[in-house]
Symmetry: C2
Subunit: 530 residues, 2 copies
């Protein structure tokens, strides 16, 4: 590791050397964008409607369909064109829940706080049973529970020791933490890791399928897991199965650690614990259904067939209202489009916004969109690869480029919570860095200053990046994204801040406008072919 000071010096030189052709930025237009974004913002109206009127938007749920419908309406209202949904195949069934309760009935009476995993069945009215602890880590573990689970409620896994918070819940970047992002970590060879990961993924999927079927066969009533976080937060994603024809298992809930751990201790103490569980949940389709992304455009003028994109995933998990993850991103991207229309922007290139679905299940919507419009790798023949979500697959064979591949410019994504933009990850695209430096300048005064070379992952820009198309995410203030809200029942309106979303919308609007207007094609980094 080289010293910070030296690194900063080297970076300074590098930027100096490549910044000869200064990037043209239409500051008049940026000024208009800022005014509209800061003084006539509608971003909170959008954010509020998505979170509090529509609520959580699990992929393929009725609420997600309503979100597709409502956002199309807003895009039409704002005068965007080519407003439509695009389907992606075979996602699975929709699911929603209305209520969930768990009560301890013995050895004393207490309400316990738990919420269901998505895609697990309801209880069809209250069920009562004795609690039994079950710890299944591999297929062979199932055998020892044979004949023992009928009429029982299952406590899955072990207690987890409470972790004290040693950092503030909420974090905003300062100069030091931003500087820390400037360091690039050269990756180790990933081949071994990858093979191991794929093997483990396959084994885990097999274990889940077998366990679901086993619990149903054995006649267990319901199962309870520990929430992913402490402090009364329910952090939970999916269980069961979204695929028609697969076993959905039994009703399963995630319980706050403060209520789960005492149950473990009571069983260890040989107490007879009886619970009542009542989950009102339902699959909203009989058969697998396609998922739907929502698209809309501002049509370009002289280079209308060249495409600049911006997007965010609109689907969410189900226990909060999908606010930071990711109504924030959707509201910002929609607001950027609204702003561009409001200021009368006439971009040379077409600006297209995408509101993705299926992101939480593995970037499925954006992956499918890129494969349909820009480029794809051949379908794998290896069954282990075939079983993986497309985003986890090893590229097999040469990339198949579609007609729009060369027309594509750049994609900007937002999905790191609702915090203020502090810069952008250049995703190892070194030629993009001086451009972003210039584009960020008019937003230095609202805290967005920093272009870093490193990659960031885990969301929809990766669907572009893996086929060699420029896809980017912004550096954001973390706020309490990873302490309170990510995938939790607290992912709600109140944890976001209007000023941050206004700032983000201004920057996105400006970036996509700049990308739609610049002389040259947006630079691409070399594609790492398999």
């Amino acid at each position: 590791m080289i010293k910070r000071g030296l690194l900063a010096l080297c970076m300074g030189l590098a930027v100096g050397a490549t910044a000869q052709a200064a990037e043209q930025v239409d500051l008049d237009m940026v000024g208009k964008i800022r005014q509209e974004a800061f003084h006539r913002s509608q971003v909170m109206d959008t954010f509020s409607h998505l979170t509090e009127s529509i609520g959580p938007r699990l992929t393929n749920s009725p609420a997600m369909a309503e979100a597709n419908r409502w956002t199309r309406g807003k895009f039409n209202e704002w005068g965007l064109v080519n407003v439509h949904d695009e389907a992606f195949d075979g996602f699975g069934r929709g699911w929603e829940f209305s209520s969930a309760s768990v009560e301890m009935l013995s050895e004393r009476v207490q309400p316990l706080h738990a919420l269901p995993k998505a895609w697990t069945p309801g209880t069809h009215g209250p069920v009562e049973g004795e609690l039994i602890q079950v710890d299944i880590k591999k297929l062979a573990d199932l055998e020892k529970y044979k004949g023992k689970l009928r009429g029982k409620i299952l406590l899955l896994g072990e207690a987890r020791e409470y972790k004290r918070g040693t950092e503030p819940d909420s974090h905003r970047h300062d100069a030091t933490s931003l500087e820390g992002l400037q360091e690039f970590t050269i990756p180790k060879s990933a081949a071994d890791d990858r093979a191991k990961r794929i093997k483990e993924y396959g084994e885990r999927q097999e274990l889940i399928r077998a366990t679901n079927a086993f619990f149903v066969e054995e006649g267990a009533l319901a199962a309870i897991s520990i929430s992913g976080w402490d402090n009364g937060i329910i952090r939970v994603a999916g269980g069961g199965s979204r695929k028609a024809g697969e076993s959905v298992g039994i009703p399963e809930l995630a319980m706050i650690a403060e209520h789960f751990n005492p149950l473990v201790r009571a069983l260890k103490d040989n107490q007879v614990v009886r619970l009542r569980v009542n989950v009102d949940a339902r699959f909203t389709d009989e058969a697998d259904q396609p998922g739907h992304n929502t698209l809309a455009e501002i049509r370009g003028s002289s280079k209308a067939d060249e495409i600049v994109m911006l997007g965010a995933h609109m689907d969410s998990w189900h226990t909060g209202t999908g606010a930071a993850d990711n109504a924030a991103g959707v509201a910002v991207m929609m607001e950027a489009m609204r702003i561009l229309k409001a200021v009368g922007a006439k971009p040379k290139r077409t600006i297209r916004v995408a509101l993705w679905s299926g992101e939480e299940q593995g970037l499925i919507g954006s992956q499918a969109y890129v494969a349909q419009h820009f480029a794809r790798y051949p379908e794998p023949t290896d069954p282990a690869q075939k079983a993986l979500p497309a985003s986890l697959r090893e590229p097999t064979g040469a990339l198949q480029k579609l007609r729009d591949y060369d027309k594509f410019q750049v994609y900007f994504n937002m999905d790191n919570g609702s915090g203020r933009f502090r810069g952008i990850y250049a995703q190892e695209n070194m030629a993009a860095m001086p451009i972003f430096e210039q584009w960020l300048k008019p937003f230095n005064d609202v805290g967005a200053t920093t272009v870093v070379s490193r990659n960031t992952g885990s969301t929809d820009h990766i669907s572009y990046d893996r086929v060699g198309l420029p896809g980017f995410q912004f550096v954001q203030d973390r706020l309490d994204y990873f302490s309170n809200v990510h995938h939790s029942h607290l992912d709600t309106w109140d944890h976001a801040e209007a000023e941050d979303l206004k700032q983000a919308a201004a920057i996105v609007a400006s970036f996509v406008y700049n990308a739609a207007m610049r002389e040259e094609r947006f630079p691409r980094k070399p594609l790492l072919e398999p």
Copy 2:
């Protein structure tokens, strides 16, 4: 404010000047106490039983009676004498709850997280109604809601903006924060404040009574308040009334801020919000009942009629399991007594432990005990004073000292959560400071180092202090007491740490032993007569 360095110097001189007569500490006995406390501890067994087998212990609830019964059993098992409960008059009725649920039915469906206020009635099955916002700050506000509340569910008060956590959840003292405690703040004249406080208290009580009766008359179904804290934590105490013959009002629940605030916004947005509320709660007595403290002793030898006391309140609020507040204190005080028996301590003076009830409603149990055994002020004649809980009353007339007043030595209390002891508040008893310095020395190595002159309040040692008897509380690491657990549904086993409770028990056992053995009577500070 004088500079820290100068203050430290002054304190050093002061201690030097008064520490001539070195305090005798039986280090052989302290060593035995440490061994028993650290290597054969039972404090977590006691703590676990109180929190997880008995559960929350609201004053006069069946669980509190069970706690009285069980702790008497343990005291007898350990060979303590004079094990008994002592009643204090007219506390009120017992109350408990089994379950609570709130569901939003329109304009969309969502389960909301709320728990009932103690001493409010249940709903006797689910009730459904339209939500209406009600803001009552004074008696005159009732009028405007007349005729408007029948069949409605009431949303009490306003939304509260989310406060970001800027400090870590959990805090332990370091040298700097301990040094900060050394500064004594000379009080302003409190007379005006006191009169104002009493007036406000009376007005608040009157408003609560009138509002309870009004909501019942008007036929409202239930009421919902915002929890005292953010981040999904339900922080709630009592509502309704514990007094037979007073209106208990309507079912009332505290809801997490993340679910309450959206309801406020929905109503402001003119949405029609329907809720279903179901609270299973009940008063467990028809008429007011006395409360009960549990007492036990190790009988002294040569000075058996002189009394050293230790204690903690056993009653708790109802939504957690009363762990940090205050099974921790009870377990530590009980463990101190067990240790003293286990090491074969033969104190000259009698050591008496008290497990108080009614603390959460205003130090009622300890106040009554002190009035019955040691000293009391004349009953006030002023109706405003009479209406106050005894702990808030202005002393009226000269203190009436009972027989044991002069025999009493000192009382030690624990009620600042479950965190490690870092020292002791000398409560302005300057003569006690050098004694405590000496007593703490053998525990410097486990982090208890600091004697500070300042007062600390809000718990049962105040019942002694206000009649001029030495009563003390320890300086403790705060942990997450005031961020997560105090009066909240997260006040549970997992937020405590065994090592801290073991350390506290060793220190308390040693302190009370030292107090029971020292030559002279424990020094008293001058009583501030009214």
